[in-house]
């Protein structure tokens, strides 16, 4: 990094994307794909070398546009000397709400993200999950029409993830547009009307999750326990790995039923049978190929 000028690196290349009113749009991509950069551009935190963007018809450099949007940064960090209530009150003040309305909104939104009990705790004592929640609350405290969330589920435990998913569902039900970035495919599958996939700064595809990412099951996973003194059935002999007191085996779908029969005949306890689908990472490797992807990112970086 230079003193006056930062070194230039192409993070996004020819990104052209349209998000419909009222839809939940998932912005997918591996780490470093340019998802956060896109969101920062839309928030005017950084500036593009070329190109334009509009949100609800307003150019992104129009400060009035910011009245209609909410934004949760990646790994959010807030003023840790404030309490959750004070933080939301501060942000609500920036929208010019009167004191009675602020009080009502702050209480309502803290409750909505499950922080009603921690409202008067300083943010320095918040866990990562709590920070994420207060981050979502500050993004929606002014009832924006469009909400941008950068990795909203990161750092959350399963309960927290579900709560965030519920909030996004609720926002959609209220007719709001949600644009969120993630690298976790399951989040996108559960929530999104459409997704856009970004790899190496380029948009590789846009569409409904089912259309875009192959939802084909590539293997079945069986989790089971054997009765004492029982040997592994022959079909699973080489495939099963012991983890703790349990066995885990991955096998093709057409061999599943035979394996289950064998397990039943030796009275094994079957704990779960799960279809395995490609992860987003698998999908990317399939899409561009590992080597090709590396070459592309090198090309992008050196341009």
């Amino acid at each position: 990094m230079g003193f006056w000028r930062q070194r230039m690196r192409r993070s996004l290349d020819n990104l052209s994307l349209e998000v419909e009113d009222g839809e939940v749009f998932g912005f997918l991509g591996p780490n470093g794909a340019g998802k956060t950069t896109t969101l920062k551009l839309l928030m005017s935190l950084i500036f593009p070398t070329a190109g334009t963007a509009r949100v609800r018809g307003k150019p992104i450099d129009d400060v009035r546009m910011h009245r209609e949007i909410g934004y949760l940064p990646e790994q959010p960090y807030f003023y840790d000397y404030l309490t959750g209530r004070e933080l939301l009150d501060y942000y609500a003040r920036l929208f010019g709400f009167g004191s009675a309305e602020r009080r009502e909104r702050v209480t309502r939104f803290l409750k909505r993200v499950g922080l009603a009990d921690a409202a008067d705790v300083q943010l320095r004592k918040f866990s990562k999950g709590m920070l994420q929640r207060v981050g979502i609350a500050q993004a929606i405290v002014h009832d924006p029409q469009v909400i941008f969330l950068d990795e909203p589920m990161s750092g959350l435990d399963p309960v927290g993830r579900r709560e965030v998913r519920d909030i996004i569902h609720d926002l959609k039900r209220e007719g709001r547009t949600v644009f969120f970035s993630t690298h976790i495919l399951s989040d996108a599958e559960m929530l999104c009307d459409r997704v856009g996939v970004l790899v190496g700064g380029k948009l590789q595809g846009v569409g409904a999750p089912g259309e875009l990412v192959s939802m084909e099951v590539y293997a079945m996973e069986i989790l089971f326990e054997l009765r004492e003194g029982c040997a592994l059935p022959s079909s699973l002999d080489k495939r099963a790995k012991q983890v703790g007191g349990r066995y885990r085996a991955e096998l093709p779908e057409d061999e599943l039923y035979q394996a289950l029969e064998e397990l039943r005949s030796c009275e094994a306890r079957i704990l779960s049978v799960t279809p395995l689908r490609p992860t987003l990472e698998d999908y990317f490797f399939k899409l561009v190929g590992r080597d090709e992807s590396a070459t592309r990112s090198k090309e992008v970086a050196s341009r």
Partner: protein, 259 residues
């Protein structure tokens, strides 16, 4: 008029208070108490002079240290901790944020300075058991210190828009020291007889803030009246200078990519 700078300023003030910035007052109070007791022992005639001199100098130095060290971190901290991200996603223009941060620190410095002034008044009353009419000059000296602190804060804020806190501290301190000698710099130009040098020296001396005009501590200690012209001249000068520096800071900061 936008209300946003005010909202940002109040939060900045709250941050300073919660970060226990005002703890410096304890040190100041101890110093004034110690001085009041000591001068009572050693110098009956000049005790007022010593107390006023010491008190006003301490007010200025304490304020200066706060203005520079907090000032250079005002923007940097928000960028480094990325608290600025969620703030600038709200309907907040970057210049409104800067003016708010400036206002917040100035408010902190004002409250801090006024509390120190009360400490000085208490020490003064302790050593002489009375207030004189001439002591009103102390108020003017404190007011000038505040103007000076506003200038220093604006400069620290300006530098922190494009450089690290350490460099910003060095730049601000450098300008502060150079600002004391701005009239000398013009004098140096005049003795060279070189028109180009003279013009450069004059330009530099006009560009640098003239801090010497704000220092009336000695006059205040002796109870000399401060001409009214100097009061309004300093006020207008500081207001214009601060406005220009903040405009420059806004221009730099508005185009900056936040990493």
């Amino acid at each position: 008029m936008s209300a946003i700078p005010g909202v940002v300023a109040i939060n900045t003030f709250r941050e300073a208070v919660r970060d226990r910035v005002m703890y410096n007052l304890i040190l100041f109070a101890l110093m004034m108490m110690g001085a009041a007791i000591l001068v009572g022992e050693i110098s009956i005639g000049i005790s007022r002079l010593v107390i006023i001199n010491l008190g006003l100098s301490a007010i200025s130095i304490f304020g200066l240290v706060m203005a520079i060290f907090i000032g250079v971190g005002l923007v940097y901290k928000e960028m480094e901790k990325r608290t600025l991200y969620s703030l600038l996603a709200k309907p907040v223009r970057r210049w409104e944020f800067l003016v708010g941060k400036f206002g917040g620190l100035l408010l902190t410095l004002t409250v801090n300075t006024l509390l120190m002034m009360l400490g000085l008044a208490a020490a003064l009353f302790y050593v002489s058991r009375e207030f004189l009419r001439a002591d009103a000059t102390i108020l003017v000296a404190v007011y000038f210190t505040l103007l000076e602190l506003a200038l220093v804060t604006a400069l620290a804020l300006f530098f922190s828009c494009f450089s690290s806190p350490m460099l910003s501290t060095m730049f601000t301190l450098g300008i502060y020291v150079a600002g004391f000698f701005s009239s000398d710099i013009r004098g140096i130009g005049m003795v060279t007889h070189n028109p180009a040098m003279q013009a450069t020296a004059r330009a530099i001396s006009y560009l640098l803030p003239n801090f010497r005009n704000f220092n009336v501590i000695s006059a205040a200690a002796h109870g000399d009246a401060i001409p009214f012209t100097l009061i309004w001249q300093n006020t207008v000068y500081a207001a214009l200078y601060v406005a220009l520096v903040l405009m420059a800071a806004s221009a730099v900061f508005s185009g900056r990519n936040l990493k």
